[in-house]
Structure formats: structure tokens, C-alpha cells
């Protein structure tokens, strides 16, 4: 018998349709990374504001969020918590130009999947994005075949 996932029906939607939100107070940095991801055929959305990232997340299922510790209108950890309230399983990468140990410890306590210092290696972020997409499609396959 087919087991259907009833609640997160967007889950079985191909992960390519999901969005990656890139939020950074430094709008140029956000644009640059989103541009790179778009070029790698991900659907990426750059913004400097946490409120805008939340608006996107409310209408589009996200596959990944790349959040800087500092945004134009809120701290990265606040956006993290509010995005996780919308999707408790959302994978998040935290980026920062602040190399302090306390910043890293704070970020890691949140349960992020990657901590990345700036200026970052795009390839590293791309690897993570790919890993998430394979993981999600495997998960979706496992659940529907159950």
C-alpha cells in the first residue's frame, strides 16, 4: 500500500522547485551568492532584510536558507528562529565576517548545518546546496514508497 505524506505535501515536489533564500545586510554579498547559485541552476532569492526573507518563506517552500549573522532589520539568529517556526526541518547555513569564537558558538547552538566565514568559497556553499537537494529527494522517495 502506498503511504502518503499528508501534511508536507510540498515535500514530494521536486526539490528543484524549492527556493534558497540568501539573506545578508550586505546586499551585494547576497546578490553575488544568489547569482552564483542561480547560475548553478538553483532558485535563489537574495535580500538584505529578514522580513523579506520571511515573506518569501511564507509562500514558497524553501530548500535552504543562507543567513548572515547580521541583517538590515534583525539579527541572523532571529531570522533563523522565525524561519524554523515556519519549517522546523529547514537546513540553514550561517555566514559571517565576524571571526569571534562566541559568534560561532552562538550560531552552532542553533542547529545549523554549516558555518561559513566571509569572504566565502562559493564552491563550499554549492556543495552543501547539492547535498541538501539529494538528501531531500532521497527522503521524499523513501517516504512515498514506505
Amino acid at each position: 500500500m502506498m503511504r502518503m505524506r499528508l501534511v508536507c505535501s510540498d515535500e514530494d515536489e521536486s526539490s528543484a522547485r524549492r527556493w534558497i533564500v540568501v539573506a545578508d545586510a550586505d546586499q551585494d554579498a547576497a546578490n553575488l551568492l544568489a547569482g552564483y547559485l542561480l547560475y548553478q541552476r538553483f532558485r535563489a532569492y537574495p535580500t538584505g532584510r529578514g522580513s523579506e526573507a520571511l515573506r518569501v518563506a511564507r509562500v514558497h517552500p524553501l530548500s535552504l536558507a543562507v543567513i548572515d549573522v547580521q541583517l538590515a532589520d534583525m539579527a541572523g539568529r532571529e531570522l533563523f528562529q522565525r524561519l524554523r517556526a515556519i519549517d522546523p526541518a529547514l537546513p540553514v547555513i550561517m555566514t559571517t565576517a565576524d571571526f569571534g569564537a562566541a559568534t560561532e558558538m552562538d550560531a552552532r547552538r542553533l542547529g545549523i548545518i554549516q558555518y561559513v566565514q566571509k569572504p566565502f568559497d562559493f564552491r563550499r556553499l554549492e556543495l552543501v546546496a547539492r547535498r541538501i537537494h539529494t538528501m531531500r529527494s532521497r527522503l521524499a522517495a523513501g517516504v512515498t514508497e514506505g
Partner: protein, 449 residues
């Protein structure tokens, strides 16, 4: 059920026909117009739920039309279509309030999925996400719920193991609350004031694992612009929660084993070792003993992690607890929203109890949250629940007209395109955004020619 109305604006007559056919077939009311100007005239006179708008149109172009639509009625969801995947235009459209964009040639499966999401789930998603956002601040306080003998044993184990400092292995299907067990153990342990660092081992690419776990020094590799602590040192003095531990690649399993034995790590790019004091709680939804047999998980690491084992029962094995869980969720939600939903109708509860919950407690919680957001009554009724019947259990009869299956819709579209273009299969294929080869394959599949 009232049919949703969709406005299609495209100067290409073929695309208009294709979209009209497809959308009508899927049960929408469609008005198709050939210019931005006509579209503006329509939206000022009539009501629409959604619009499919081509970005490039002579006269009033798609972006101007988008502005007009949003100015007139911001609740209309607009999907932009573009022939050339110019990302800057697409992003500009999204920033101006478009819901999404599609790149031509259109993929009908994608369109169908998107339209369904736009129109049927729109309300629901928004309600649930607002609710979740409000609940957000309280997520951290979640507790293990349940009074069945199995759950009582789990709670007892949690209390006992919290006092010790030994590694714990938590086993259970997804949604059974493995992370709740980890945080309960941490909070009751002597390490409670130190960090609990959770990590999903399945989400980290193998190439990056070592530096994520053990940190690195500046210059260790491209992108190592400064020293980084890594997970172990971030959790120092506290607890490291390794979720989906079966996903760790072999090389890291060996390194992790050494760290657990020696209690020291070596950051990438240095020969110096550093002492760490971290308690490990690992979790898995896979059978690790199976994984050991198949050679994908190290037996010695398994023994290291599996000092205390806590197995979480799936919800279908403790269905008697569903009423208690429902009451628990209801109380939480009522408190949060100052509402007074008193309970759940017997037939709704019966439907929940007949369902086997592959997503376990998390799925029950999601279903219930959703029902709470939707229901406007004093109690949760069967109508507030999603259709649980698709799993082969007795529940509510499906309401409204059912949509055709994807295969039916596809077959009908291919037939329609054949009728329109007659013998010109190349043109028929192009109109559907298919390659000629794929088109022929489908013809064969559906027995059309």
C-alpha cells in the same frame, strides 16, 4: 466547490490556447487575453484568483501589468512566464510581488503543480505559517508527551541517563521525537548550562565534514579565511547531538571513534591536538546493526555510541495515546491563541486513530495544527482534517470533484495537441514544450497516433 478563475495574458496565440486547454482540463475557469491592455481592462471589471502573465508583451508589458494587477487587487497571485531565463527580470518580478515564474517552453507538470499550490493551498499555507510563527518562541519548551508503558519507560531512561555522562543512542522513526529526547537529557544533566549543539550528519557534504566537526586554522584550505572552532569545540563542556548518525561517511566514522577514545581533536591544517569535553548523543532512524552487517557503519563506533540505548516507539504502536496527545496540543494552542476550542468530534478522533501516521507524532501535530487553524468551531470536526482516506482507512468521503490524474491530463493534452496540429507532430510536440522524441514516446505510451 467553486472553480478558481485564472487570467492568462500572452501575445502568443498558441500559448494562450495551450494554457486555456490545460487549465480548463484541470478544472479552472480561464480567461485568455492577447495583450497587457486587455488584461488591465479585465481585472478592473472582473474578479480573478490568479494570473499567468508573459513578461514580454508589446504595449503594456508583463512587469507593468504585474504592477497594475497588484495595485488593483494585491490578493491575486501572479505567475510570470518568460521565454528567456533572464534571472534579473525574474527576480525583479518577484520583488514586485509576483508569486513565482515559469520558464518557457512550459513544462505542464510543473505548471499544474504550481497552479495547484497557488490556488488550493494558498489559504492553508498562510494560516498554518502564521500560526507557526506565533508558536515559534515556544518551540524550545517542547516536552515528550505520552503515558503509555513504552513512553513511561523512555522517560524513566531519560531521567536515569541524564545523571550519568555516558553516550546515548536514540533510535526511532522520523517524527518520533529523537531531538526532544536529546534536549531533555541535556537539560537535566550537569551540562545543562553549557551548550547543546545539534547537527544533522546527513546534511553535511563529506568533503566538508572534517572541518565542520574539528574546526580549522586560517589558511588550511581555500575559504579558510580565519580560525574556526568546529562543532566539538563549540559544544565543549556541553552536549553534541549527532542526528542521522548513520549518514556519516566511513572516513569520519574512524576519526570520530578516535576522538571519543582520546577526548581530543585535531583541527584541519594543524598538527596540534586539543582536549575536548563533550557528551555525545547520537540518533538514527536506520537500523545500525543492519548497517554494520552491510559494512556501511563501523562496529567499534557503534559500541562506543550505544552505551545506553533509547528506542522511541512509532505512534502506530501506541495509538491509545492519540486522545491524550490531541488534548495536549489543543491546550497548547488554546493558551497561545486565547481561543476556546473545546475538543475533537468523535468521528474526527476515530479517523485519526484509524490512520497509521508514517510521520509519527510530528505528523499528528502538523495535522492537528492545521485543523486548528482552519476550524472556526468549538470543536475540531472531521471536515477540518485532511483526507486521511488515501491510506486505505475508513474516513470522510472525498468532497468536491476530483481532479484528473496526471496521466489522464497528459493523455488528453497530447490528444488535443494532435487534433490541433494534425500530422505535424513536430509542431504538436513543440506546443507542449516536449522534444519530438519524448512526444513519440508518450504517443506510444498512451496508444495515440
Amino acid at each position: 466547490m467553486e472553480r478558481a478563475r485564472v487570467l492568462v495574458a500572452d501575445d502568443d496565440a498558441d500559448i494562450r490556447e495551450l494554457l486555456s486547454d490545460a487549465l480548463t482540463q484541470w478544472g479552472y475557469d480561464v480567461i485568455a487575453v492577447g495583450s497587457g491592455r486587455e488584461a488591465v481592462a479585465r481585472i478592473t471589471r472582473e474578479l480573478f484568483d490568479a494570473a499567468l502573465v508573459d513578461i514580454w508583451m508589446p504595449g503594456v508589458d508583463g512587469l507593468q501589468l504585474l504592477d497594475e494587477i497588484k495595485r488593483h487587487n494585491a490578493a491575486i497571485d501572479v505567475v510570470m512566464m518568460t521565454g528567456d531565463p533572464m534571472v534579473s527580470t525574474a527576480v525583479q518580478a518577484l520583488k514586485s510581488g509576483a508569486y513565482d515564474y515559469l520558464v518557457k517552453p512550459l513544462n505542464l507538470d510543473e505548471l499544474r503543480h504550481l497552479m495547484r499550490r497557488v490556488l488550493e493551498k494558498r489559504f492553508l499555507t498562510r494560516e498554518v505559517s502564521t500560526l507557526r510563527t506565533k508558536l515559534g518562541e515556544h518551540l524550545a519548551e517542547k516536552e515528550l508527551v505520552g503515558a503509555s508503558p513504552q513512553m513511561a519507560r523512555v522517560k524513566e531512561l531519560v531521567a536515569r541517563v541524564a545523571e550519568s555522562d555516558s553516550p546515548v543512542l536514540v533510535e526511532g522513526e522520523s517524527g518520533t521525537g529523537k531531538e526532544l529526547v536529546a534536549s531533555a537529557i541535556h537539560r537535566r544533566s550537569a551540562r545543562a548550562k553549557r551548550p547543546l549543539v545539534p547537527v544533522n550528519c546527513g546534511a553535511i557534504p563529506a568533503e566538508l565534514m572534517e572541518s565542520e566537526f574539528f574546526g580549522h586554522v586560517k589558511g588550511a584550505f581555500t575559504g579558510a579565511v580565519a580560525d574556526a572552532l568546529g562543532l566539538f569545540r563549540s559544544a565543549n563542556g556541553g552536549t553534541l547531538f549527532l542526528d542521522e548518525v548513520a549518514e556519516l561517511p566511513q572516513a569520519l566514522q574512524a576519526k570520530l571513534l578516535r576522538v571519543l577514545e582520546a577526548k581530543e581533536i585535531r583541527p584541519v591544517g594543524t598538527t596540534k591536538t586539543l582536549a575536548v569535553d563533550v557528551r555525545i548523543i547520537a540518533a538514527t532512524n536506520k537500523d545500525l546493526e543492519e548497517a554494520i552487517k552491510s559494512g556501511s557503519f563501523r562496529q567499534d563506533l557503534y559500541y562506543r555510541l550505544n552505551v545506553v540505548r533509547i528506542a522511541l516507539p512509532p505512534l502506530r504502536e501506541r495509538k491509545a495515546e492519540i486522545p491524550a496527545l490531541v488534548t495536549h496540543f489543543l491546550r497548547q494552542l488554546n493558551e497561545r491563541f486565547c481561543r476556546d476550542v473545546r475538543g475533537i468530534a468523535p468521528d474526527a478522533l476515530a479517523a485519526l486513530q484509524a490512520y497509521d501516521f508514517p510521520g509519527n507524532v510530528r505528523e499528528l501535530e502538523n495535522i492537528f495544527e492545521r485543523a486548528y487553524a482552519l476550524g472556526a468551531h468549538h470543536e475540531i470536526t472531521l471536515a477540518d482534517l485532511p483526507d486521511l482516506a488515501s491510506t486505505g482507512m475508513p474516513a470522510a468521503p472525498a468532497t468536491g470533484e476530483s481532479l484528473p490524474t496526471l496521466d489522464q491530463a497528459e493523455r488528453d493534452l497530447i490528444a488535443a495537441s494532435l487534433r490541433r496540429y494534425g500530422k505535424d507532430k513536430e509542431k504538436a510536440a513543440r506546443a507542449l514544450g516536449l522534444t519530438v522524441r519524448t512526444f513519440y514516446r508518450r504517443l506510444k505510451k498512451f496508444g495515440l497516433s
